[in-house]
Amino acid sequence: MSDDTEFEQEESLFEAPPMGEQERMVEAVLFASAAPVTVAELAARMPHGSDPAEALVHLRKRYEGRGVNLVRVGDSWAMRTAHDLGFLMHKEVVETRKLSRAAIETLAIISYHQPVTRAEIEEIRGVSVSRGTVDQLLELEWIRFGRRKMTPGRPVTFVVTQSFLDHFGLESARDLPGLKELRAAGLLDNRPPPGIGLPDDEDEAGEDGQSEMFEE
């Protein structure tokens, strides 16, 4: 191989290599260069009498519609990935994370109490609901804005979406089990506190103990 080259180089002292060869040379130089290359630089590298400008025209045509294209960068030339294949250059790493406690609690309140206002959510949770939490749930398309409440200030309400129902495998928000059912299913390991049945708007909630808080 290298013997051939030397032969060619020697020959080139007398005559420029054929255009096909020149095209190959330009191709190799543009491929291997760490930066775009000017026509002058190409000429300096190629055998005497070469016409890199013409070789570039041929090469550009050759790479038309290919996965890489010959592009002009200022007064230099470079090989670049075809624009429409840019997606191949991104490796998408999907990371699965658990929803934060604040988000899941907010979501739970919305699903059980919809339509519900932010103030109501805060009242139930006992802490304020951060904008980020609501935004995250909106972004996940698990909640959306519902009708405004006909109360002073006409606050917006939140309701769960069809995506929410799909994700959690529910036909409707009504299918969410009550606390009594949860406990009966062994999902909640709550011992009712001795002798206290606090009045609650949801009867089954009353039997839940404080013990759960201490399990976390």
Binding site: M1, S2, A28, F31, A32, S33, A34, A35, A78, M79, T81, M89, H90, K91, E92, V93, V94, E95, T96, R97, K98, L99, R101, A103, I104, E105, L107, A108, I109, S111, Y112, I124, R125, G126, Q136, L140, H167, F168, G169, L176, P177, L179, L182, L187, L188, N190, P193, P194, I196, L198, D200, E202, A205, G206, D208, G209, Q210, E212, M213, E216
Partner: protein, 262 residues
């Protein structure tokens, strides 16, 4: 000693030059096998046909000369010399009847194999390095485009998460500050306060059960709590030297009284 000095003197310049050349040469060899290979090539025959006997003699002569010139040879050169002397004797003398171990020919053949193999590897190394090499004869992409990593986070939650979260919130309503919830609990501090005040009035031994506040003895929960608190408080008072405690036997009533001298 005198002998050595004398010898030193009679060494001609050319001999000294030869001695020095030998030192340099030994430095140039990569061990006895390398030296042997070089010697074998001086036989100018195919390595397969090399005369191992001749080689052994050549090597031994070399070592002898080095010793004569008082050149320090590395231990492995001397080990090889000893082994070659052994090999030489095996090759020259007919094997004694009933002698164990490999024949001189086997040993010689293996040495020849080693030399041939070393030479072959050197040739292979030369061929390898003569190949076109990347970064010298051919090239990789000069402007590689890094694959950018796009991190997409998806959040998951299960129905169970959701329901547990809801249960957590709803049961939170029942959570009130501890003190409020403690109508059935008497703390040691409470009992201590009570007993400090009462103890002075009881002159003689008194069952600690009599210190249980009124209304607490009926509810089992309250009674248990008050008993425990009173007992703990009694121990504390005894420790402080304010009361004495006694118990007749196991499970008998525990009695206390104010320490007389206090």
């Amino acid at each position: 000693m005198a002998d050595d000095d004398f010898q030193e003197d009679v060494l001609s310049v050319s001999e000294r030059m030869a001695a020095e050349a030998l030192i340099i040469d030994v430095d140039g060899y990569e061990g006895p096998l390398d030296l042997l290979l070089t010697m074998a090539r001086t036989q100018k025959v195919d390595l397969r046909k090399v005369s191992v006997l001749q080689l052994a003699e050549q090597y031994l002569a070399f070592v002898e000369q080095a010793r004569h010139l008082r050149i320090e040879l590395a231990a492995d050169y001397l080990v090889m010399a000893a082994w070659l002397a052994f090999l030489k004797s095996r090759l020259l003398l007919p094997p004694e009847p009933g002698e164990q171990g490999p024949s001189g020919e086997d040993l010689a053949a293996h040495l020849a194999f080693q030399l041939e193999r070393l030479q072959a590897m050197r040739d292979a190394a030369a061929k390898l390095m003569a190949r076109d090499q990347m970064g010298r004869d051919f090239f990789a992409r000069g402007i590689p485009e890094e694959v950018s990593r796009v991190r997409r986070v998806t959040y998951t939650a299960t129905l169970l998460d959701l329901m547990q979260a809801y249960a957590r919130i709803r049961t939170k309503d029942e959570f009130r500050p501890f003190v409020m919830d403690r109508d059935a609990v008497m703390t040691m501090e409470e009992a201590l306060d009570r007993m400090r005040g009462l103890i002075g009035f009881a002159g003689d031994w008194t069952d600690i059960m009599s210190y249980i506040p009124e209304g607490w003895e009926m509810d089992p929960g309250r009674r248990r709590s008050a008993t425990a608190a009173n007992f703990a408080a009694s121990l504390q008072l005894a420790k402080e030297g304010q009361v004495e405690i006694r118990q007749g036997e196991v499970f008998a009533p525990i009695q206390i009284r104010k320490k007389p001298n206090v």
